[in-house]
Symmetry: C2
Subunit: 125 residues, 2 copies
Amino acid sequence: MLAFIRKYSKGESVGHNPRPALHHPTLETVLVTAVLHALSDETRLSIVRTLHAEPDGRACGTFPVNVAPSTLSHHFKVLREAGLIRQEDRGTQRWTMLRVREVDARFPGFLDAVIAATEVASVRF
Amino acid sequence: MLAFIRKYSKGESVGHNPRPALHHPTLETVLVTAVLHALSDETRLSIVRTLHAEPDGRACGTFPVNVAPSTLSHHFKVLREAGLIRQEDRGTQRWTMLRVREVDARFPGFLDAVIAATEVASVRF
């Protein structure tokens, strides 16, 4: 029983990660419509903007967004599947990074233009 | 009766246009999320790309898209309300133009970056 609790307790280092592996598509397989869709939501755009200012990434509970955890999880999934973010588990925390270099290599100037656009045409930011 | 038919016949020049006036928002009132959403659909992106290559615009029935007229009409509405296109009736034809200068002035580099992105990451184009 103790072994079971150890194995499935959050943060236990037992050589087993109960979270499923995250899928990070290569940018070459991502359609531009998927990227545009991922960015067309105000919360997701806020996440991207936050990460763009923080090259080292951010722990998941620390984003300045006002949505339920399950909703936030969905937004991360959409961004991840559009190739925009990378997420990795570090101990008990999940870290999120913007895939700036890869996105810039695939879509030159695109991310900068979107970030600049949010600065002139968004009510929330 | 003849007057009635004249008044409501398509293309009759009777000083009355039976089509409702189209709303074209100023770019200053458009949110970047609305622009990104408008562009996140393959057909709408195709329309924008076609218009980007044709500064004089295009008559409505001539777009190389494979959708029903009512669907196309919806797509035009989404693009129009995002401030991306301007439409005007000329006799029996409705013409559509990309609002390139206005969009570029509001979101510098954005449209070019999106068009360039469609060239590397779209299955249809």
